[in-house]
């Protein structure tokens, strides 16, 4: 009886979408293992986690923005900014400047996003799209005729590729550190409480005497830093910072957050869900490519899975409310 009730308590504390996402991950692994037993090997799984870490770091930041009821469409070029500026900084001032400067550039663009949304009250969908284009332009200027350093530093490579502890990739540790920070932020700090509150009803939050502008700016700034950090690691992973390196990450990052049960209009969602969404998407991409599905088929299946999963719990939420 007590076991049953404690089980129920555990189940109650896990959202339905999160549970569905984890079940789906298990189903995919089992189905994959029928195809090839290597799907269940520790090496394959760790490799998946390593790839997922880049997406996970981006999703950590954009989740905060989505919880506010906003969106950050500047991810692709802020990732690129992070990658290219870190390698360039290594060339200009030495390798120890690479990572701080890359992340700093993401912070600057994130702050601009936040100021535009919070102070100028431009809809985030428009403003961040504009900043994405601006960041692209700046990167083109940056490489035009200067030929700055574009290869990654040793530290970047070590963080992104190497495995130091128990054979676990270093990138996974970085994701874990960022993830824990986000969980603590959301659960234990006033800022976290305000993020959910603004996502639910910005007017009521403002009338509670909360500095809503500061909360918006902080979240966009964190999102910018996370994107840039992922860019730094990606540059380390491929040993090179290059144009458009962040392009494949916009939709997967948003999809991962939403598949993990975060409401696209804000106010609801847990970080555990985002973790599930990130792993799910990385795994799906990997399995489809291992099965040597042609690119067109991969895209179709990938899109259909996202829509199908959103239907499953999107409808449930509508009925509940």
């Amino acid at each position: 009886m007590s076991v049953q009730t404690s089980m129920q308590a555990v189940l109650k504390s896990v959202d339905k979408p999160v549970a569905i996402a984890f079940v789906f991950i298990l189903v995919m692994l089992l189905a994959g293992s029928l195809y090839s037993s290597s799907f269940l090997s520790a090496n394959y799984l760790l490799q998946q986690l390593q790839v997922a870490a880049f997406l996970g770091i981006i999703a950590s930041g954009v989740m905060l923005v989505i919880l506010l009821g906003h969106i950050d469409l500047s991810i692709p070029w802020l990732v690129t900014v992070g990658g290219m500026m870190s390698t360039a900084a290594a060339g200009w001032w030495g390798p120890e400047w690479a990572i701080p400067f890359g992340v700093f550039c993401g912070l600057v663009f994130g702050l601009i996003n936040g100021l535009g949304v919070a102070i100028l009250r431009v809809p985030s969908m428009i403003f961040t799209l504009g900043i994405n284009a601006v960041a692209q332009g700046v990167m083109v200027l940056h490489t035009g005729g200067f030929a700055p350093q574009d290869h990654a530093t040793k530290l970047m490579h070590w963080l992104a590729v190497d495995r130091s502890l128990l054979g676990i990739p270093n990138a996974v540790f970085i994701w874990a550190i960022i993830g824990i920070a986000v969980v603590v932020l959301l659960k234990r700090t006033p800022l976290g409480r305000y993020i959910y509150a603004i996502g639910n009803q910005e007017a009521a939050t403002f009338l509670s005497g909360v500095n809503t502008k500061a909360v918006l700016i902080a979240c966009f700034a964190i999102s910018g830093m996370c994107s840039a950090m992922a860019g730094v690691l990606l540059a380390g992973y491929s040993n090179k910072g290059y144009q458009a390196m962040g392009d494949p990450y916009l939709l997967p990052a948003i999809a991962a957050v939403v598949l993990g049960g975060t409401h696209i209009l804000g106010g609801r969602g847990s970080y555990l869900g985002t973790v599930a969404g990130v792993i799910l998407i990385s795994l799906l991409q990997s399995i489809l490519s291992v099965m040597q599905m042609p690119e067109a088929g991969r895209q179709i299946i990938y899109g259909c899975v996202i829509i199908a999963m959103l239907l499953v719990y999107g409808r449930g939420q509508k009925v509940q409310s």
Binding site: P190, F206, L207
Partner: protein, 528 residues
Amino acid sequence: MTDPQASSRNAVHPGSAFWRMQGIGKRYGGVVALEDVDFACAPGAIHAILGENGAGKSTLIKIAAGVVQPSAGKLVLDGAEVTFATPQAANSQGTVCIFQELSLMPDLSVADNICMAEPPCRWGLIDHREQRRRAEALLSRVGCEDVHPLELVKNLPLSRRQMVEIAKALGRNPRMLILDEATSALTAADVEKVYEILRDLRRQGMAILYISHRMHEIEELADTCSVFRNGRHIETFAKGARSDNEIVQLMIGREYTQIYPAKPVRETRPVPELEVSKLSWSNRLSEISLSVGKGEIVGLGGLDGQGQRELLLALFGVLRGVSGEVKIDGNKVRLSSPRFAKSDEIGVALIPEDRKSEGLLLPMSVRDNISMASIGRFTRGIFIDRQRQNAEIDEMARRLSIKVGDIDDPVATLSGGNQQKVVIAKWLMTDARIVLLNDPTRGIDVGTKQEIYQLLRDLADAGTAILLYTTDYDELIGCCDRVSIMYDGRIVRELTGDAINEENIVASALNLTLDGQAETAKPAGEPL
């Protein structure tokens, strides 16, 4: 259905009732909203439904209007059983409901809204000229000739929107019209218009179900009253068969005591906590001077939309570009934001007008809502000290006797009265010295209203300065030590003591001066 009690409950119009509910029940999960309700309605009569929030009135009308399906029992119309799967089905059978929450689209014109369900068409396209004609006819039927059919709904004041809503309902040619708190947003003049329309409709043989928390409306309008309590139909009786006290007792199921707490007798004016002089904003507030003393409840009265809301928002630091001087505890301050207004050195709290969109975060827990304005007090480093915070929240919930199953449940699951208590609790947590309230008892049941009055008086006795705007004259009279009446953005009259009576309030609200009023009610703006 055959037990003698049930048939005696419906004894008022037994033969003429064309619409009845038999053994209707409704459950939401484990919660019983309605149980075994037998209920009937006759044409040509206004039937008032009384009950506290949570008594099952809303569920009753939702079933009648086809919004929700009953889990037990049946609906009988003209002797035949009917089921309404959708509101459209109910409409086509002549049942039209005007809900408490307005259903108008703010960005469409009045005519578009009135003809929303069945726009007049020619060649498959909307016939705008016909639509406009139809809207004009319906608007003049509800006495709103001054509303232009092509005006956007968002540009109309709340009370006008409600009239448009009624016009829209009449456009569907109902046999039975259901009004849920239809007058709670209306100004006194408009309420009178609604009464006339309803009496007119009654003469034409329409059945009207009327839900209201205002006792005097029921006295004035209803032919028959039915009292609900805890999802059950308690009693139906003809108007005048029961006294007010008896009705209230039936509603709350316990002895009815004096509704307003006694006002303290004062020899001298208390020390002013809040002093406002020559406050102006845009063209909505002009040269407002006002003071609220420590331990005093000052009422703001007047017709709806005369600047009361703006005055409260200005004092809470929401509005930009406010001129004039505000002194708190003798010190001049500039109220720049709600965050500054709630800070320790200022200590202002605002209980806003619309608790659903301005006061609460409905999907979030009761606990999170109560702590929302005061989290800053419970931090250790960058973290929230949850133990300390939860202890104070639990204490506050007990103090206001907020009825909640689990304090971590979403605040949306609470009844309206308890939701309002959560908003008040949120601000009591900040230890505010000045509390501004914007119509805090709107749409709240009698029992909770009484608790709120007592709470306000207790707060005042503890030294809090309270500024209360309410649309209910009874509250101004019963609750307030002084009343300032606003008209067109100015304070036109200040009433004290025995001068706070309905006659003076109504006259001042219309900016009239009655004979013999001069000694007790002095024009505002003179030195205090």
